[in-house]
Symmetry: C2
Subunit: 464 residues, 2 copies
């Protein structure tokens, strides 16, 4: 069956790429208000494209921001249902002068399709639409049930999607969630990203006297809020680079030997990292590699500090306030709110006479992980291997894509991140492109994946 | 002899106060360029006033800023020479709407003379001019040799006076230096301010990677400059509030029992200070009172700190730079340059991997002290006591008036600060005034002081 699918995709390739180029010509920049009409046009274009492929129940669903495009095909009774997530919005194209060809006039050079959105995410999203078309045109049906949820606000932090997912949870319900908005490890080297860090962000403010004080007349006799905040901030880490907040690591799921072993395939050369950053040495929690430190260990980073006169020269005052902002990156199964409770307890246990301390909780994002031995993960790995003749590497990112965790948690389903982009394809930068080699590899991998998923049992959650 | 002087001053009081009011009518605001003509007019007025009093060798001496007015009377062979320092410039008068009567239209209410410059420093300066006049008119001579050095830049940090004093050191040479630009302890309570703190000001910069880094992708594996500067800044003080820089206190001249005892007369009520500042408690070096901490102990105060994104919200980065500015207040016999050497050694002894630290030395001001048992100090105290029937209290200030130290050091002579202002006379604020009770007390005290100085031997330095 896969040969027929491949053959269809091969025969219609030019037409499909032409369709992708039409998608890329719409400057659907979600961040810029004047592109509001383009956003609507792009949502409609997406809906039509889904319909043309044979999907049903097409719906452009309003949110408080840009609409979500929904579609499904649910005629595979007893088979699993997969929710496909993607986004039709793109990053702004500036600086325009650095583009070799205009960002919204896509062209192919060296089998690479250049244009804003080509890899992030229009190109990767359309793979799924064309796989639907190929199955329906050659088999008359899909091997599984599919639902599409395509948002228009991914590049503006998916502002309204969490509430949308909560509200439409039953409509979006699925056995697994799949999305292609990440990267392969390199050409010919597939990757499954199975973990993302969460975030707890807060601000600490230390107040001293009721006004700035003359450092001559009061210096030496009152607590200086900058002294106090320096003591506090320096108390957050021990000499071994570990976070010294009591209980901070309690919920951390330690890496398995298999994970640590697999990381060796993706570990960057630490010397190269050091040289690129131009630092004398790397520095982090002892006993962990750079890759482990940045992906599978939680951190507490002070992202800003401020106190006293910020102008030129030395104004000899004792300021009446100092503040710092902190971002903790969290790993499964840490809980942002609980981490901020622990930090607050840490602060209250310190003795800092003569000042008052307040903590303002601002950001919360749960960490995300899909265990690599989940059946849907194994199936994805097999599909990759059959296409690329290479078992995928397992990666984690140190960053946060909060919507991934939201989808998994609210819909209570494993999330599979199957990237077909390549490192260096300039997402968010000028000359963004998508290597069309991975157009072909992508459609094949997805087709094979769906055939494999069809062999897995649908869970009891499935309502169809 | 003193009765004749007093009688002359009494007889001519109205005319003298009238002259002071004319002095106050000139808006000699050194900080504001448009008052340049007023500055010249005021320098000329000062010169004429000195000449009218009988002083000689009147000279309006140029500097790179506003001129210095010089005059002398050197016909007391074998007698000490005293250099009288003062300034003819004043602070800006804004906010004008808060003045009950216009700042440059002096008026007397309740025996207080209101007007910008009345207490700081025209009123206090003119005391000396009128004492010269009184001696010359009643005795035909002065009991000692006097030189006047009256600058026009005190309110703009005496920018050009240090180089002026260096250049004209032999012309200005004296056995002692006297100035009245400070305050009494209270009505009827004279004070001799015998110590001022010096200053060492510097900036510390910590550099990490060659750009800000994404806290997700690099957090946990590179040194964060804010973490490093927090460790550094928190290392400057120990748990007892002492500066923990090795050698910092080595040159500090400890307070004598006599000094500590005398401070009890001027110690503010610490509860009141705490309440005024609205802090839960005062905090400083243990074993010292508030007054001792702020005047006779050196301090290291971080006056500002900065690092990371300073806008609204949490931008999750590891910034590539953090910096702090520090002002050390120094006491005799600490040396600013040496203190900065010690801080630099302290920094280099710390282990802060993965960052580079630089220290930029910016401000230097020596501490000043005139031992309270210096003969010229004792004579001043006796003069005060004879006038006020009260021995003066000995005070120190935690602030810095660098020019006082420069005069004493370059001219190698003790400096006596004999203030006749009162607390609450609003120097630098609206409704500045000078209580005329202290016009009379001031001229009498100075007259008595000069008579006493005449009984001290001139030192070998005296060139006359």
């Amino acid at each position: 069956m896969i040969e027929k699918i491949k053959s269809y995709l091969h025969t219609h390739r030019d037409e499909h790429i032409e369709e992708l180029m039409a998608f890329l010509r719409i400057p659907s920049i979600s961040a810029v208000a004047q592109h509001q009409p383009d956003m609507l046009k792009c949502a409609e274009w997406t809906a039509q494209s889904l319909q043309k492929a044979g999907l049903e129940n097409i719906d452009i669903m309003p949110t408080k921001g840009h609409p979500v495009v929904y579609a499904d095909w649910l005629h595979a009774p007893g088979k699993p249902t997969v929710l496909i997530y993607g986004h039709y919005d793109v990053q702004p194209a500036e600086p325009l002068e650095l583009w070799e060809t205009p960002p919204f006039e896509p062209v192919i050079r060296d089998n690479k399709l250049f244009g804003r959105g080509s890899t992030d995410d229009k190109g990767q999203l359309l793979l799924y639409v064309k796989v639907v078309e190929a199955f329906l045109q050659t088999q008359g049906s899909l091997p599984i049930n599919v639902k599409f949820c395509i948002e228009g606000e991914e590049e503006i932090a998916s502002k309204h999607l969490p509430s949308f997912v909560e509200e439409h949870a039953s409509k979006l319900q699925a056995d697994s969630i799949i999305l292609s908005d990440t990267q392969m490890h390199g050409p010919g080297k597939p990757a499954l990203m199975y973990g993302l860090r969460g975030l707890a962000g807060f601000e600490i403010t230390i107040d001293g006297a009721n006004s700035d004080l003359h450092s001559g007349l009061f210096g030496g006799a009152v607590q200086n809020p900058i002294h106090a905040i320096s003591k506090l901030l320096s108390s957050f880490h021990d000499e071994q680079g570990r976070v010294a907040v009591h209980g901070f690591y309690d919920r951390v799921i330690e890496l398995s030997d298999k994970e640590r072993e697999s990381f060796k395939q993706v570990e960057p050369d630490e010397n190269k990292v050091r040289t690129n950053l131009n630092v004398t040495e790397l520095y982090g929690e002892q006993g962990f590699s750079f890759y482990e430190q940045t992906t599978s260990r939680p951190t507490l980073e002070i992202t800003s500090v401020s106190g006293g006169f910020q102008g030129e020269g030395i104004k000899p005052i004792i300021p009446n306030r100092a503040s710092a902002k902190i971002a903790c990156r969290l790993v499964a199964a840490q809980v942002p709110e609980e981490i901020m409770d622990l930090v607050e307890a840490h602060i209250h246990a310190l003795t800092l006479p003569g000042v008052t301390i307040t903590l303002d909780r601002q950001l919360r994002g749960n960490p995300f992980i899909t265990p690599i031995d989940e059946p849907v993960m194994l199936a994805a790995a097999e599909a990759y291997e059959e296409t690329f003749s290479e078992w995928p590497v397992y990666t984690r990112s140190g960053g946060s894509i909060p919507i991934v965790e939201v989808l998994g948690r609210v819909l209570d389903a494993p999330v599979v991140l199957m990237g077909f982009g390549l490192p260096g394809e300039n997402l968010h930068a000028p000359n963004e492109h998508f290597h069309l080699m991975n157009w072909d590899n992508g459609t094949e991998t997805i087709s094979r994946y769906w055939l494999k998923l069809a062999q897995l049992a649908a869970t009891s959650k499935e309502s169809n």
